[in-house]
Amino acid sequence: MSETALRPRVGVVKFASCDGCQLQLLDLEDELLAVCEQFDIIEFAEATSARSEGPFDILFVEGSVSAPEHLPRIKALREQTKFLVAIGACATSGGIQALRNWGDHEAFRSAVYAHPEFVASLATSTPIGEHVKVDAELRGCPIDPRQLVELLTALTTGRRPQLRDEAVCMECKRAGNPCVMVIRHVPCLGQVTQAGCGAICPRFDRGCYGCFGPREQANVKGLADFLQAKARLAPADLGRLFAGFSANAEPFRAAVTGYAGAPPGVAVATNAPGDPR
């Protein structure tokens, strides 16, 4: 890639989300100005009043598809983009707001709104990849700054990003943390959760709550059987464990449904999880 005139044109956009993942970009305090020299940031509403609707060489997409206008918007953005990166649990799994996927959205709306006709909300909150092709994803709630830097570095050099495909347990062991399941007898999703956070929760003497989502071929049933047998967790509490920030990602979703029927407080519903309205 040659020199500044040909810097990749980068956009950062959001759907339903808390803004925390795109904030990680601005929180790269030591690298931010250098990053801005490598990339031509043409759209990043959180950071600049200069606007663009594309085309983008790289587009970072935060948030889940959650409102009717999101559907045409993500498709239009995809058409303008060469390399689309979904960032964070909302964009990669639907996020915490996907807990409504188990509920009866229509009843929900009419219970909440005096004027449901004003409400622009889909029955489900779904990941970007369910609607358009995603070229890369960064997991996490929020994404990890080291993974973000690694991805940005890989993009400038055209190599594949080195993102470890392993469980949180591996990071945890390498960090030398005592296992919280063994020492503290608390449930921990580390063995079924994608690494990347640096095993923060075990380092803070608590169980992992799975915010980086399930790792490939996670043996959720094995963990659940163990917790049922050894920790005497009731099925409802097993479901509760998985009903977090990546609840909508399989096989966490199946665990929520299988053990508890639905997330805590959510009435099991007429619309099945994942069905767009």
Binding site: L26, E29, L32, L33, G63, E69, Q97, F204, Y209, P264
Partner: protein, 464 residues
């Protein structure tokens, strides 16, 4: 890029009507909070050359937080409500944890209380620093962003980034990560920081204090657009501390009530045509403003001596009280306070005997407010015998500030309309950013539409 006119908060208490105020306490079976980050729109209605109405639309696809926490345990709620806002997750965690502890009669170790204030210092430094340097200062110096500003003012932007980083690093030490930290729980923390970990923060914070002082002097030199209004301020106030997590709710026109009783003096209501919930005081005294200008005005005596001396040195107390653009100076003064208090807390830190005290849940009402960087953030939970949430109401600062922003726009937008379209939009954007309504809205382009009532078709200008 997004449908305009979608409301900031979608939803209303069941049974509420549109238009006239809903009196009394909110009765909701399900909650409806959605966050205010998102795109902003401003609609001005002009009649006979005068602005008669300003409608600020801040919207976000509904995420139903007040509903998502139903059925959850208090500690789960603390993790979940952080996700309302990636910029001020600590504020949501703090309002929630204090509410539950008050309800369950939990008395935490004084050192735990101090650590929570320290965590809040980190969030204030990070969030106020972000707003001053990345979002607001470019307006005063004529740049589209801090990144563009860095081309001419690299050292200044680096100073801001270093300041912000010290706040983020403080949260990281206490909570594992700067965004959505994982350490806060009812009764205390999951894990306490070691003495050495906090000591390691001191050099960076000492630099940050110098940077914060420089920020006050820098922002004091900005040319402030003319604006004069006696603003109605609401903030928490404590006799001995600058308000983070304790005190009473006060105003500069006589309100004075416990943190638990927000709903006694304030209510949320729906605005016809926007479906957005605003908040107002029940006394009929009109809109009120929260945040740095309110706190610096109402709680100047409680500022850290270093911050108070600097505020006096600026001579801008009166301007902070009456000119919203000067809120950037108030933010800078609070940056000094937060870094100075952080250093004091670290110097005095003695690790408590245990990270948490045991507690028993009970059925009841858990209500509390804390001071988010943008202002008072009120939470109210009804719990069952197991402490699980049955109902929830969360009132973020921006939904409270919205009425004041609109009233001020009616007051001041007329002057801006004398300017050419692009300049007018820039001026109005700058004014809205002065309130720090929320990050993405605050920096966002504004879709400005002006309706000339009875004077022919609407014309629109698009900023940027």
């Amino acid at each position: 890029m997004s449908a305009m006119g979608r409301p900031e908060r979608e939803g209303t208490p069941a049974g509420a009507t549109v238009g006239p105020p809903v009196s009394g306490e909110r009765r909701i079976a399900v909650g409806e909070l959605t966050r205010v980050e998102g795109e902003g729109s401003l609609r001005l209605t002009v009649r006979d050359g005068k602005v008669v109405e300003a409608r600020l639309g801040i919207f976000e696809a509904p995420r139903y937080f007040e509903r998502l926490v139903v059925g959850r345990t208090p500690d789960e709620v603390i993790d979940i409500v952080a996700r309302i806002c990636g910029i001020c997750p600590v504020a949501y965690q703090m309002s929630a944890v204090h509410a539950f502890e008050d309800c369950f009669g939990v008395r935490v170790d004084p050192a735990v209380r101090a650590l929570r204030r320290l965590m809040y210092c980190g969030e204030w430094i990070e969030s106020l620093g972000l707003h001053v340097y990345m979002l607001h200062a470019p307006d005063f110096l004529g740049y589209e962003s801090a990144i563009a500003m860095a081309r001419d003012h690299r050292q200044t932007v680096e100073r801001g980034l270093a300041l912000k980083k010290s706040g983020n690093d403080l949260i990281k030490v206490l909570g594992g990560r700067a965004i959505h930290p994982v350490s806060v729980r009812v009764g205390g923390f999951y894990r306490l920081p070691r003495r050495a970990e906090l000591d390691a923060m001191r050099p960076a914070l000492e630099h940050a204090l110098e940077h914060a002082k420089a920020t006050v002097r820098w922002t004091t030199g900005f040319a402030m657009p003319s604006f004069r209004r006696d603003m109605r301020f609401v903030a928490m106030k404590h006799p001995r501390e600058y308000p983070f997590n304790d005190g009473r709710i006060v105003s500069n026109d006589g309100l004075d009530l416990p943190l638990t009783d927000w709903t006694q003096a304030f209510e949320e209501f729906q605005v016809e045509g926007s479906n957005a919930l605003h908040a107002r005081s029940k006394d009929g005294n009109g809109p009120y403003l929260l945040g740095p200008a309110a706190r610096v005005t109402l709680c100047a005596d409680q500022l850290h001596p270093v911050a108070r001396a600097l505020l006096e040195e600026t001579g801008m107390q009166e301007m902070i009280r009456t000119n919203i653009y000067a809120s950037i100076v108030a933010r800078a003064v609070e940056l000094v306070h937060a870094t100075a208090e952080a250093l004091d807390i670290i110097a005095a830190y003695r690790p408590p005997a245990a990270p948490m005290v045991p507690w028993q849940p009970r059925a009841g009402v858990a209500a509390w407010a804390t001071e988010a960087p943008r202002g008072l953030c009120f939470h109210r939970y009804e719990t069952d015998d197991a402490g699980r949430v049955v109902r929830c109401q969360i009132v973020p600062p921006t939904s409270q500030n919205q009425a004041a922003i609109e009233a001020d726009l009616v007051h001041a937008a007329g002057d801006a309309l004398q300017l050419p379209d692009a300049e007018a939009t820039l001026r109005l954007e700058q004014m809205i950013r002065s309130y720090d309504p929320c990050i993405s809205c605050a920096t966002h382009f504004l879709d400005l539409s002006i309706e000339y009532d009875g004077e022919g078709p609407a014309t629109g200008g698009r900023a940027s």
